[in-house]
């Protein structure tokens, strides 16, 4: 029995290391300076702290703007994905109406679409609309990607709240809107926040559409991929560092909700 436990924990730790080591290397390289990136042989720890790569990174023209754009695009994506998704999710969770199943299937169906199939025709449309190469173009595509998620996850959430809670509020003098904001939303708040974080990560990490839809107004991912054949490795590493750190933090916050957010894929 003892031997078996060692085996299981050994395996568990092995898989943990497989996940953590590459991230560890990224962090070590990011704070060890340019020379360490090209050093041979490599040192497996931070020999001396050197922030010069960060300074260089932010001195490159377009980087600050790209980072700012990434934050802005991801935040706006959250606003739209939640703002458009919450009412729809509520309708799915609380009403029976003609076309409900069709709507649900159409939403599930969107998952089968490659981003490419969205981004290409939208480029043409956005040029006509005059919003090509603006953050709005990217926000729209990212919202289109995150919205189905937001709708399905939230409708599951709302469904898990007993409808009597809202009914009790209606009888105690609330309108439906008041009941939603006083009862439903506070109860679901942690999970809605987790959904919002997921929408943020989807947008923050998206490369293809952001790269296709922008020329000057790059997001961080679009900026990095458009420079990838010309930029030096240490620059790419610093870029990755700034891509990864916020999401590490976010995944930590939503760790409790991962299953309720992804369990949905079982349906």
């Amino acid at each position: 029995m003892r031997k078996k436990a060692i085996l299981y924990y050994g395996l568990g730790i092995f898989f943990c290391l497989s996940v953590l080591l590459p991230i560890y290397f990224l962090i070590v390289l990011s704070v060890s300076g340019r020379d360490a990136v090209y050093a041979w042989p490599k040192i497996f720890y931070v020999a001396n702290l050197d922030w010069s790569m960060f300074r260089f990174f932010f001195e490159v023209e377009g980087v600050t703007r790209a980072m700012f754009n990434s934050v802005l695009v991801a935040s706006l994506t959250v606003v739209f994905a939640i703002g458009l998704g919450t009412p729809a999710a509520y309708a799915l969770a609380r009403y029976n109406f003609f076309g409900k199943n069709f709507y649900r299937i159409a939403i599930l169906f969107t998952r089968a679409f490659p981003v490419a199939i969205l981004a290409l025709p939208l480029t043409v449309r956005f040029i006509n609309l005059g919003i090509y190469d603006t953050i709005w173009a990217v926000v729209i595509v990212h919202t289109a990607l995150a919205l189905p998620f937001s709708i399905l996850i939230q409708s599951n959430l709302f469904q898990s709240v007993p409808k009597e809670l809202e009914e009790a509020a209606w009888l105690l003098g609330c309108t439906k809107l008041q009941a939603f904001f006083k009862i439903m939303l506070p109860i679901c708040m942690p999970s809605v926040a987790a959904t919002a974080i997921f929408a943020f990560i989807i947008s923050w990490n998206e490369v293809f559409a952001a790269a296709v839809l922008t020329v000057k107004n790059r997001t961080l991912t679009a900026f990095l991929i458009s420079q990838i054949s010309e930029s030096p490795l240490f620059f790419q590493i610093t870029g990755s560092f700034f891509l990864v750190i916020p999401t590490l933090f976010f995944i930590f916050i939503v760790r409790k909700y991962l299953f309720s957010l992804w369990g949905i894929t079982n349906k």
Partner: protein, 373 residues
């Protein structure tokens, strides 16, 4: 405080008729129980009064005000739900004061009234706790307090005691009854538990398949069922019902013959009505198990001369504490008798039971309707 008038209310879910032409009038301060098996429409009726369901047709008035087109919030009623529906993200105090706050009461009034209502339900010690720290019974009290705090004209309760364990249910039943009497609120109370309905209600509406089968005081429901369904549904064990095979007149008395051993005397006043029904579609006769009384063992064959008795063999004997339940068999017909404890009787004995002819209930066999003089 107000009356409730339900007039000709129907409710359809697609092709399913959940409520069929319901009429019900509850007096001010009256406690009405809606009693029926699951799926009988009692909860739908309650929810329709609350405005949580829309009636397909008909009118509902509370006091002088017609409410069927009003939103739930404008109907001046409160509801206690089966699962309590206590708001999990609010303290007990916030739960109780929720209705007063949304209605914009004064701060001092809210604080004082919350305290008073909590005291009424003995939950003043947990006012600052969250519901997940409470027991089921306490949560139940919070949900009643929350409903009473708004001093509703009408209180609706949907199986409020069904999620409590047996002992707590008993305790809460009497407490609730006293509380509602004191608060003088007109109450509609949904339950599938006939003892609950019998012990608490001023009037009972027995429902089945979306219809009210009988509406009246508990004693009437129990002793004078207006319909075969009510006879079968109320009482534990329920009423014995026999199918009448023939009608036979001996010595100027008319008997409803069930088989060779069992025949019931028909009261003179009912004779023609029963004859008419029998000719049309058959007749059922019913008597409650406790209305049959042990008359001793029977050695001789039954004759029609001795009226008001029936004979049969003892199939099983169950001791239920203060009572003894007998299942009796006569040819292929089984029926039950409830006797006091201590009756001297053995399995397979052939015994005689007596009854009062005026305690018999007669029903048309197809219509199920009670036959009256």
């Amino acid at each position: 405080m107000a009356t409730i008038h339900i007039e000709d209310v129907s409710k359809n879910f697609g092709t399913f008729h959940a409520l069929k032409n319901i009429f019900l009038s509850a007096e001010d301060k009256e406690f009405t129980a809606l009693l029926g098996p699951s799926g009988s429409g009692k909860t739908t009726l309650l929810r329709t009064v609350a405005g949580l369901e829309q009636a397909s047709s008909g009118r509902i008035s509370i006091g002088a005000m017609r409410v069927d087109n009003l939103a739930p919030k404008d109907r001046h009623l409160a509801m206690v739900f089966q699962n309590y529906a206590v708001f999990p993200h609010m303290t007990v105090a916030d739960n109780i004061s929720f209705g007063l706050k949304t209605k914009g009461a004064l701060k001092e009034y809210i604080a004082e009234h919350t305290q008073r209502t909590a005291a009424l339900l003995h939950i003043e010690d947990v006012l600052h706790k969250y519901p997940n720290k409470l027991s089921g019974g306490q949560r139940q009290r919070v949900s009643v307090a929350r409903a009473l705090a708004v001093q509703p004209q009408v209180l609706l309760m949907d199986e409020p005691l069904s999620n409590l364990d047996a002992l707590l249910r008993l305790e809460m039943r009497s407490e609730l009854k006293a509380l509602l009497k004191k608060s003088e609120t007109t109450t509609l109370y949904v339950t599938h538990d006939q003892i609950e309905a019998m012990s608490m209600a001023d009037k009972i509406a027995v429902m089945n398949n979306g219809e009210i089968m009988q509406y009246g005081p508990p004693e009437e429901i129990y002793f004078k069922p207006k319909h075969e369904f009510v006879a079968r549904f109320i009482g534990s064990p329920p009423m014995n019902l026999f199918t009448v095979q023939t009608l036979k007149t001996v010595n100027k008395k008319t008997f409803a013959v069930i088989n060779n051993d069992i025949a019931f005397v028909i009261e003179a006043s009912l004779k023609t009505k029963i004859q008419e029904n029998f000719d049309a579609c058959g007749v059922l006769v019913g008597i409650r198990p406790e209305q049959l009384s042990f008359k001793g063992s029977a050695s001789h064959a039954k004759t029609f001369a001795d009226a008001s008795t029936i004979q049969s063999e003892v199939l099983t004997i169950e001791q239920l504490g203060s009572n003894t339940l007998l299942v009796l068999k006569s040819n292929e017909i089984l029926f039950r008798v409830m006797e006091k404890y201590g009756i001297k009787i053995d399995l397979n004995d052939r015994v005689t039971f007596g009854y009062q002819p005026n305690q018999l209930s007669w029903f048309g066999k197809d219509s199920g309707m009670h036959i009256e003089a």
